[in-house]
Chain length 341, copies 2
Amino acid sequence: MAVTLQDVAARAGVSAITVSRALNHTSYVGAETRARILAAVAELNYVPNAVASSLRSSKTQLLAFLTDITNPFWATVARGIEDGAMEAGYGVILCNTDEAEVKEARYVDLLLRRRIDGFIVVPTRASGPILQNLKRHHVPFVLVDRAVPGVAADCVRGDSRSGAEQLTAHLLATGARRIGLITGPRTVSTAEERVAGYQDALRAAGQPGDESLILYGQYTEPWGYQATQELMARPRPPDTLFAANNFIAIGVLEALHTFGLRVPEDVAVVCFDDMTHLTTARFLTTVIQPAQEMGRLALRLLLARLAQPDRAPEEIILPVALVVRRSCGCPFTAGRPGGNQ
Amino acid sequence: MAVTLQDVAARAGVSAITVSRALNHTSYVGAETRARILAAVAELNYVPNAVASSLRSSKTQLLAFLTDITNPFWATVARGIEDGAMEAGYGVILCNTDEAEVKEARYVDLLLRRRIDGFIVVPTRASGPILQNLKRHHVPFVLVDRAVPGVAADCVRGDSRSGAEQLTAHLLATGARRIGLITGPRTVSTAEERVAGYQDALRAAGQPGDESLILYGQYTEPWGYQATQELMARPRPPDTLFAANNFIAIGVLEALHTFGLRVPEDVAVVCFDDMTHLTTARFLTTVIQPAQEMGRLALRLLLARLAQPDRAPEEIILPVALVVRRSCGCPFTAGRPGGNQ
DNA sequence: CTATGATATGACAACGTTACCATGTTAGCG
DNA sequence: CGCTAACATGGTAACGTTGTCATATCATAG
């Protein structure tokens, strides 16, 4: 049915290996021969069979990115990965894990069978066993955004702690008294790091800090909504809300809206992660992480490891940027309604 | 290096084929033998090699979804596809085409080499040649959201025309006089269908309709922004803006904001496509398309075609739903600030 | 008691490519 | 002029699985 190397070879009057070499530039091939081969390829409409090639060479030239691509932040990271991968001759399989270990494990299994060359993973703390599994099978992987305790691996992440500290310090400097922090699950390192940064800033400002203002939950909109309701219903509600990621921020804004509270007049709001191309984003004071860059670097680490499997694990911590816009209600933004960015 | 069927077979004291059959439930295997095989698999940590399997059986059990996954709408469709695929034993490769034919073509090429079993594509009109290429290679595909003239294929799409008509009729019924329509590129069928629906409604209302109020462009935020600026700067600006998709809507809102115009007090805004979990969404009057359902159905069509390659092309047109919220400024929404949904 | 079909296992070859080894030709160099 | 190295091409086998054909046992039906 399908056209094979043999067919092309026959048509060009050479052997199959020569055709392979011509197409893969893997050895010398005479100029004239090459021309004849290319002609035959075009005439027969030959499409190389990567499956056979992979079997023989035990390289699939495929990488996988496991994350919740529903979140535009990760979609952007994916973009960074993809661009670089394409350039290096790799394809990328994007897998929607929904941050659920069950789906994650299932995908890893599926991809191991497919003999994927390498993984880029946005892990949770529960990913440990899954990553160990990858190690056992000697499949290289790189972590993005989050560290996993007990797993030494290449990793690219933003400086959550410092970012949260900057954000909190800014709030304190411009008059915030009680800052509610709505963060993600304890199983995710960034959730705790952002808490740590928040506490760093309070400590530096000589404030005691009220433990009850810190709510752990999920990195989701419903959690932002629910936590806001809870915080604002208290006898002494916070005057400022710090959402630990973009989805939480959306829930926060929504909840405040239903309460009839204005931002920033009644309550100031800030968040972590940006949501480029979302109206709310141009309004929110936030800490921006270089998403695309993150992807690009993760890919670079993975390629490096593919080339040299036994190199020492490398951890890249990317600087983050505080972007002050209107939602925190501070006076510094007067005159630039759209915020910068 | 890696454990193979042979190794497992040796350990279990049977032949390789028996192991294959035991694992794939593809023929009779004695209960005791199966147990021994499964034990051997576990002890040796055997992971089947799908590459070899694919080569032999000429089925990869892989599907691809080509679209701009950066758009949450498509990410949701992807979810629908994935869920069903997983269930049917297929993996899905998500590919970010950015709606650019160059990337689309490159991916198709890549995936044809990999002998993907089938494609689900969100095409543009320029996709014609690419789809013809798929046909030439007898690789099944299904279109989503958009028809491509001259290409007979399975297709799932929303009823854009009717949706746009409903939306426009609602606006006219509640007092809109001049409705600016900011739509996508002429190369995308939905962009024109939404225009057609808009015109249907005007005609039905006995209104002449002002051609200059219809602006074709891109399905992107910058275009929404730019088009809004242009429309609102005119001597007789529209009193209502109809954004033909979610990204455009975001640009529209942003532009109005920089103009200092309030929604809906100064200008009413409606759009097509929903943005679940976005604050702006709960505020916008919109036409909702069942994204996840769309994906699920597209997958079902593809599976049907895989099972029976020569069946007649099927086109599924999904009903869409008008959801009235606050942004259109009509009185019907009084008392439900959050809108429904 | 034999025919029939369900049960259970195996041998062999093939899928389409590339790794490895081999061979020959030509050009350059001492 | 013989020797090395770059250039050019081919043969054979192997990657790990499964399609196809073959064989054997056993129970049940006629």
